[in-house]
C-alpha cells in the first residue's frame, strides 16, 4: 500500500499484490505463512491492499478482494461464558480472532472493520458488532490494548499502537465518550511514542480525527533518521510512509481525514 502512491514503484506494488493472491486459499483466507491456514489473520490487510491496488488501477486477481471479504464475514471470534469478576469485557460479543477458533481480539477486529468499510460493507451486521466489541473493550481511563480491559479486578494498561489502529478503524463512527477518551490518551501519549510502528498508527489516528499534532513534521524527521540509521524493517518503513503521505492510497481508501472536528 505504501508503494501504490508512486508510479515509480508500480511494478513492485503489482508483484506484492500478486504474491498475496498466491497465498490466498480456495476459501478466501490469506495465511500468515504458507501451509498455516488456521492463521489467516492477514486476510483483512490483504483485502485492503487489493482494494488499494484497484484504486491505483492495478488489478491482479479480480475476485481476490471479494473472496477475502466473504472469508472475513464467515470468520468469527470464539465466545465463552465468563464471570464478570474475571474478565471485564463482554465475552459474548463476536469480532475477529487472530487465529481460527480463538477469542475475539482488538487488532484483527479493527483490520476487519477497515476492510469491510473499504469494501462498502459497513452496513453489515458483523461490522456493527465489531464496533460494539471495540467500544466494549475500551479501557476506563482511555485507550485500548490487545483486548482485555480488565482482568481479575485490575484495570489493564492501554497501548498507543493498538489505540492508533483502533481509532483509524473507528474514524467516521458516531461520537462516543470512549472514542474521545481514547483520543485523549493518544494525544497524551504522543510525545512518548518514539517507535516507528506505534508512531505511524498514532499519527494516522490523530490525523483521521483532525487532531494532527503540531510537531508532526519535526517528529517525522526524527523517525526518518531513525529508520535510515537502522536495519531495514519493511513494516515500519511502510507504515511511516503511509502515515506521512498526505495522498496515501490507504487514506483515500478509508476516506480518512474527513471526520468533522469534534
Amino acid at each position: 500500500m505504501a508503494l501504490l502512491s508512486s508510479p515509480r514503484f508500480r511494478g513492485q506494488a503489482e508483484a506484492g499484490l500478486s504474491f498475496l493472491s498466491r497465498l490466498q486459499s480456495a476459501e478466501g483466507g490469506v495465511a500468515a505463512w504458507p501451509g498455516v491456514g488456521h492463521a489467516s489473520w492477514p486476510t483483512a490487510l490483504a483485502a485492503l491492499a487489493w482494494q488499494a491496488g484497484q484504486l491505483g488501477k492495478i488489478t491482479v486477481a479480480p475476485d481476490s478482494p471479494q473472496r477475502a471479504i466473504d472469508w472475513l464475514l464467515r470468520q468469527r471470534g470464539r465466545t465463552f461464558t465468563s464471570d464478570p469478576r474475571v474478565y471485564g469485557h463482554n465475552t459474548q460479543l463476536i469480532g475477529w480472532p487472530w487465529i481460527d477458533d480463538t477469542h475475539t481480539w482488538l487488532e484483527p477486529t479493527a483490520y476487519a472493520l477497515m476492510a469491510l468499510r473499504a469494501a462498502d460493507r459497513s452496513d453489515h451486521i458483523r461490522y456493527h458488532e465489531g464496533v460494539q466489541v471495540i467500544l466494549d473493550r475500551a479501557i476506563e481511563g482511555g485507550g485500548w490494548n490487545y483486548g482485555n480491559r480488565k482482568m481479575l479486578g485490575a484495570d489493564l494498561r492501554p497501548l498507543p499502537e493498538t489505540t492508533g489502529v483502533i481509532l483509524v478503524a473507528m474514524a467516521g463512527e458516531p461520537p462516543d465518550p470512549r472514542l474521545e477518551t481514547g483520543l485523549r490518551f493518544l494525544q497524551d501519549a504522543w510525545p512518548r511514542v518514539t517507535a516507528p510502528l506505534g508512531w505511524a498508527w498514532s499519527l494516522l489516528a490523530l490525523d483521521a480525527w483532525n487532531r494532527r499534532p503540531i510537531d508532526t513534521d519535526r517528529r517525522a524527521g526524527q523517525i526518518a533518521d531513525m529508520l535510515l540509521g537502522d536495519e531495514i524493517r519493511p513494516l515500519e518503513d511502510a507504515m511511516v510512509l503511509i502515515a506521512t503521505d498526505d495522498q496515501s492510497v490507504f487514506g483515500k481508501l478509508l476516506a480518512l481525514k474527513t471526520v468533522p472536528s469534534g
Partner: protein, 345 residues
C-alpha cells in the same frame, strides 16, 4: 551446526503419566478433591531423577552479575568445551512495559551478564530472541524496557520470534491438543536455548519462571497476540509440550527484584537478591516457587512436569551455591479460587 531438535532421536525425554496416575487424578476431581488434591497426587514418581539448582547472590543490578552467572555455569558443570563454537539464544521475558515498572520484564543487566558469561566461554555467537505476548510493536518494547539500547551497546543481535520464518515440528509432548508446533527457524538454528525469565507470580498459573517463559518462543504470526491458541489448549499442558519439544538447555532466573501480587504484569516489585540457574527447568521453577514461599505441588504445570520433564521434590534437587532459606521471601498472590493450591498455608 548442531540442530537440537532434529539431531536428537525421536524418543521422548520424559515419561507419560501412568494409567494409575490418570485414574487417580480423575477420581480426585470426581470426588471433589479439588485442584490441589489432583496436583499433589499427580506429582508422585520422580524415581531416579536428580537435578542441580544453583543460587547465586546478586543484591542489585549493579553487582558483577556476569561473575555470578559464570560461577553458576562452573558450578553446574557447564564447561568451555560445551560452549565453544556454539550459538546461544538468550530468551528474556518481555511482556509489555510501563513507566517506572521495570520489574515486569527481565532486567537488561541480567541478559548482558549471561551474554558476557557465554562469550567468555568462547561461544560462537550469543543473541537475544523473544516473541512478546501482548504488544506487536517490538521496537517499542525493546526501547521502553531499555533492553534495546543495552543490546546495542553490547553488540547483541535481536531476533523478533513473533515474525520469524517458521517451521512445523513434531510435538514431543502431546499433553495438549496443539498437534505439531510451529517454531521460529532462528530458534531452531541455535545450539542452546537459554531461558532468562523474571521471578514472578502469575494470576493464572500461580508462578511463572523458566518453563512458562518459553511461551515467548511461539511465533505470534501463528499463535496470535496474545497467544490465545495456547490458552485454549491448556496453559499447563502447552507449557509441557513446548518445553518437551524445544528442549531448552539452561535457565537463568532474574530473582534480583521479582514481582508479587497480580503478576505477570500488574504486580508489585519484590526484592529477593539472587540469580537462580539450572539445567532441569522443573527443578529451577520448583526452587523459585520455594523462594517465593509458595507450594510447587500446587502449580499445575510443575505438578505435571514432575517425574516427566524433571524433578520438583526437594529431596531430588541438589541445591548449589546459596541456600534457599537465605532468600526465601513470602510473595503475595491473588486471592482467587484457582490459586488456593499454590499457597503454602
Amino acid at each position: 551446526m548442531t540442530h537440537t531438535l532434529r539431531a536428537e532421536p525421536e524418543s521422548k525425554g520424559f515419561a507419560k503419566p501412568s494409567r494409575r496416575e490418570m485414574i487417580g487424578a480423575g477420581a480426585a476431581i470426581l470426588l471433589g478433591g479439588g485442584a490441589a488434591a489432583v496436583f499433589r497426587h499427580a506429582s508422585q514418581s520422580e524415581s531416579g531423577q536428580r537435578a542441580e539448582v544453583f543460587i547465586g547472590p546478586a543484591p542489585d543490578y549493579g553487582a558483577d552479575l556476569a561473575a555470578v552467572v559464570a560461577d553458576g555455569l562452573r558450578t553446574l558443570g557447564v564447561t568451555r568445551d560445551a560452549i565453544r563454537g556454539k550459538r546461544i539464544l538468550l530468551k528474556p521475558n518481555l511482556v509489555e512495559t510501563a513507566a517506572g515498572e521495570p520489574h515486569i520484564n527481565t532486567h537488561p543487566a541480567v541478559i548482558l551478564a549471561a551474554a558476557e558469561a557465554f562469550r567468555r566461554l568462547d561461544a560462537a555467537e550469543v543473541f537475544v530472541a523473544e516473541g512478546q505476548g501482548h504488544r506487536r510493536d517490538t521496537r517499542a518494547v525493546l526501547d521502553e524496557s531499555r533492553l534495546g539500547p543495552a543490546m546495542a551497546d553490547a553488540k547483541l543481535r535481536f531476533i523478533d520470534l513473533n515474525c520469524d520464518d517458521v517451521e512445523r515440528v513434531a510435538n514431543r509432548g502431546a499433553w495438549s491438543d496443539l498437534g505439531p508446533l510451529y517454531l521460529p527457524k532462528s530458534m531452531l538454528s541455535a545450539d542452546w536455548v537459554v531461558s532468562v525469565p523474571k521471578l514472578k507470580t502469575h494470576h493464572w498459573t500461580g508462578v511463572t519462571g523458566s518453563m512458562k517463559n518459553l511461551f515467548g518462543v511461539m511465533p505470534g504470526i501463528v499463535y496470535g497476540w496474545p497467544k490465545n491458541v495456547l490458552h485454549y489448549a491448556g496453559i499447563a499442558e502447552s507449557i509441557l509440550d513446548i518445553n518437551a519439544t524445544v528442549r531448552p538447555r539452561l535457565a537463568i532466573v532474574d530473582a534480583i527484584v521479582g514481582m508479587e501480587g497480580d503478576g505477570p504484569i500488574m504486580g508489585t516489585p519484590k526484592p529477593v537478591g539472587c540469580i537462580v540457574m539450572g539445567e532441569k527447568f522443573s527443578a529451577v521453577d520448583a526452587t523459585c516457587t520455594r523462594l517465593m514461599d509458595l507450594n510447587p505441588y500446587g502449580v499445575k504445570y510443575l505438578s505435571l512436569a514432575s517425574g516427566r520433564l524433571g524433578p520438583i521434590h526437594e529431596r531430588n534437587i541438589a541445591q548449589r551455591g546459596e541456600r534457599i532459606d537465605r532468600y526465601r521471601s513470602s510473595f503475595t498472590i491473588l486471592d482467587v479460587p484457582h490459586l488456593r493450591a499454590v499457597r503454602n498455608t
